[in-house]
C-alpha cells in the first residue's frame, strides 16, 4: 500500500513537471514566433522602403539617363528633358533593358497639351507623334513614383524641321515586398 502511494506521488510529480516544461517550452516558442513575425514585418517594410527610395531617386534622374536624355539635340543641354524620338528607338530595343534599372514599369506620358478626345493612346511607329503614352517596361502591377519632364521631338512645320517640346511625366514602378 505504502509503495503504491509513493509511486503515485512520484508519478504525479513527473506529470506536473512535464506539464510545466511543456508550458514553458510553448511559452518561449510563442514568444519566439511573435518576435520572428515582428522582425519579418520589419524586413519586409525595410525592403519596400529601400525599393521606394530607389524608385524615387531613379525617377528624378531617369531623364538624365543616356538612353532617354535630350543632350544637345534641342539646343543647349537641359535637365529633365526626354528625347521622344530616342524613346521610340529605345522602345524597339527595350528587351535588353528589362532588368537594367531593376524596376517593374517605366512609362512616359504626355500631359500638356491634352489629347482630344481625352484618352490614353499608346505610341507606335504608325501613330507617332499623335499619341500620348510610351510604355517601355510593364511587368507587374506595382507602386509608382512620377516626375515632370519636358518631352521634345523633331517635327516638320512649314517645310522646316523644328523642335517641339511638350510637358509630360515619367513614371517608374516598383514592386512592394509581400
Amino acid at each position: 500500500m505504502v509503495k503504491t502511494r509513493k509511486f503515485k506521488r512520484g508519478q504525479m510529480k513527473i506529470q506536473q513537471m512535464s506539464f510545466m516544461l511543456i508550458a514553458v517550452f510553448l511559452f518561449f516558442a510563442l514568444v519566439g514566433m511573435i518576435v520572428l513575425s515582428f522582425m519579418l514585418g520589419n524586413i519586409r517594410e525595410s525592403a519596400t522602403t529601400l525599393k521606394e527610395q530607389n524608385a524615387k531617386l531613379l525617377v528624378s534622374r531617369m531623364a538624365s539617363s543616356p538612353e532617354l536624355w535630350c543632350g544637345e539635340v534641342y539646343g543647349r543641354e537641359k535637365t529633365d528633358c526626354i528625347d521622344l524620338d530616342k524613346a521610340m528607338a529605345l522602345k524597339a530595343n527595350i528587351r535588353e533593358y528589362s532588368e537594367f534599372w531593376k524596376i517593374s514599369s517605366l512609362e512616359i506620358q504626355k500631359i500638356y497639351p491634352k489629347a482630344i478626345p481625352n484618352k490614353i493612346t499608346e505610341c507606335t511607329v504608325a501613330n507617332y507623334p499623335n499619341c500620348n503614352m510610351i510604355t517601355l517596361i510593364n511587368k507587374k502591377d506595382s507602386y509608382d513614383v512620377s516626375n515632370y519632364v519636358a518631352l521634345c521631338r523633331k517635327e516638320v512645320y512649314n517645310n522646316k524641321v523644328v523642335n517641339t517640346c511638350e510637358l509630360g511625366k515619367i513614371t517608374v514602378g516598383y514592386e512592394g515586398v509581400e
Binding site: 513527473i14 512535464s18 538624365s64 543616356p66 543632350g71 528589362s98
Partner: protein
C-alpha cells in the same frame, strides 16, 4: 538526494528535468545563434542595397566632381566586383556589391550576399574598409554620354596626387573642398613632390621624373603594380587610378557593351527621324562602323581607335550642324 551509503541518488524527476532543461537550453541557444546569423545577413544585404541606392543621386547629367559621404554605423567592408558576362537577354554585365560588418571584433563575411546592378559602374579597390566612404562621379562620353562612372574610396585610404595637370588639380581641389566644407578625415592630397605625400598614402604621379610612385599616369595609360590600363578621357583615368587592372578591364568591357547598344539606338533613331522628317544625320555609315568596332572590343588597348572614330563622328555632326541643332542625333 543522498542514499544511506552516502552516494548521490537522482530521482527520475531530476533526471527528466535535467534532460528537458538541456534540450530547451540547447534549442534556445541554437535559435538565438541562427537569429543572430540571419540578422547579420540582413544588415549586410541592407548595407549593400543602400550603397547601390545611395549612389543614385551621384549620377546625373551635369553634376560631377562633387563628393558625397557615406557613413556606416559600424566598421564596414565593401567588396565591389564586376561581371562582364553577357546573357541571352542582356549584354550589360553586372556590378556586384557585397558588404560585411564588424561585430564583436569579427567580420560577418560568411553572411554576405551579392547585390547585383546592371546600371552601375563602381571603381574602387576590390575591398574598401572603414566607417566613412567618399563617392564621386564623372560622366564617361564617347562621343555622347555612355554612363556615369562612380569612384568609391574609404576615408582611410589616402591618395596623394603629385604635380597633376591644371584641370586635374582644379578638380581635386573641388573634391577636397575649401576650409569650410573640408572633411576632417580628408583622403585626397595635392603636392608638388612625392616626398611631401603623407606616409602610407598611394602616390599618383603625372610625370616620369618623380621616382618611387605607386601609380604613374601617362597621356593614354595608367601604370600600376597590377598592370597597364589604357584610358581615353579623365573619367576613365580616375577609373584606372582607383581600381585594379582586372576590375578596370571588366568595367570598360561593360561600358563598351552599353556604348554599342546606345549606338544601335541612335542608328534606329536616325532612321526613324529620317522617315518622319526627312532629316538626315549624315552619320549612318560611321554609326555602322562604330557598332562593328565595339562588337570586336577586346581590351582597353582598343580604346584609342574607338575614341578616334567617336571623335570623327562628333566632328562630322558638329561641322554639319555648326550653327543649328537641326538634325543632331545627340
Amino acid at each position: 538526494m543522498r542514499d544511506k551509503k552516502g552516494g548521490i541518488q537522482f530521482s527520475f524527476a531530476w533526471i527528466f528535468a535535467i534532460i528537458a532543461g538541456v534540450v530547451i537550453l540547447g534549442l534556445a541557444i541554437y535559435f538565438v545563434t541562427q537569429f543572430s546569423e540571419k540578422s547579420k545577413l540582413e544588415i549586410n544585404v541592407k548595407n549593400a542595397v543602400s550603397i547601390g541606392v545611395l549612389t543614385n543621386p551621384v549620377e546625373s547629367s551635369f553634376e560631377s566632381a562633387k563628393r558625397y559621404t557615406i557613413t556606416t554605423k559600424a566598421e564596414t567592408r565593401i567588396y565591389t566586383e564586376c561581371n562582364s558576362q553577357e546573357t541571352v537577354t542582356s549584354s550589360f554585365g553586372k556590378q556586384i556589391i557585397r558588404t560585411a560588418e564588424k561585430t564583436y571584433n569579427q567580420w560577418s563575411e560568411d553572411q554576405m550576399t551579392d547585390m547585383e546592378f546592371q546600371n552601375k559602374y563602381i571603381f574602387s579597390k576590390d575591398r574598401v574598409e572603414g566607417k566613412i566612404f567618399y563617392v564621386f562621379s564623372k560622366p564617361f562620353k564617347m562621343p555622347f554620354k555612355i554612363a556615369d562612372l562612380i569612384y568609391l574610396t574609404s576615408a582611410r585610404d589616402l591618395y596623394c596626387f603629385v604635380n597633376p595637370p591644371d584641370d586635374i588639380e582644379d578638380e581635386i581641389e573641388d573634391l577636397i573642398g575649401n576650409e569650410e566644407t573640408r572633411s576632417e578625415s580628408q583622403n585626397f592630397y595635392l603636392t608638388n613632390r612625392k616626398r611631401e605625400c603623407p606616409q602610407e598614402s598611394t602616390s599618383i604621379c603625372f610625370k616620369r621624373t618623380d621616382s618611387g610612385c605607386d601609380v604613374y599616369v601617362s597621356d593614354n595609360y595608367v601604370q600600376k603594380s597590377s598592370g597597364r590600363m589604357y584610358y581615353e578621357g579623365d573619367a576613365l583615368m580616375y577609373a584606372a587610378i582607383f581600381s585594379d587592372k582586372e576590375e578596370y578591364e571588366c568595367q570598360v568591357k561593360r561600358l563598351m557593351n552599353r556604348a554599342k547598344k546606345l549606338f544601335e539606338i541612335y542608328q534606329d533613331k536616325s532612321e526613324f527621324v529620317f522617315k518622319k522628317t526627312r532629316c538626315n544625320s549624315g552619320t549612318d555609315i560611321e554609326l555602322m562602323q562604330m557598332i562593328s568596332l565595339l562588337g570586336g572590343y577586346q581590351s582597353s588597348q582598343d580604346l584609342e581607335i574607338i575614341n578616334v572614330l567617336a571623335q570623327d563622328i562628333q566632328d562630322k555632326q558638329d561641322n554639319q550642324y555648326r550653327n543649328t541643332e537641326e538634325c543632331r542625333l545627340w
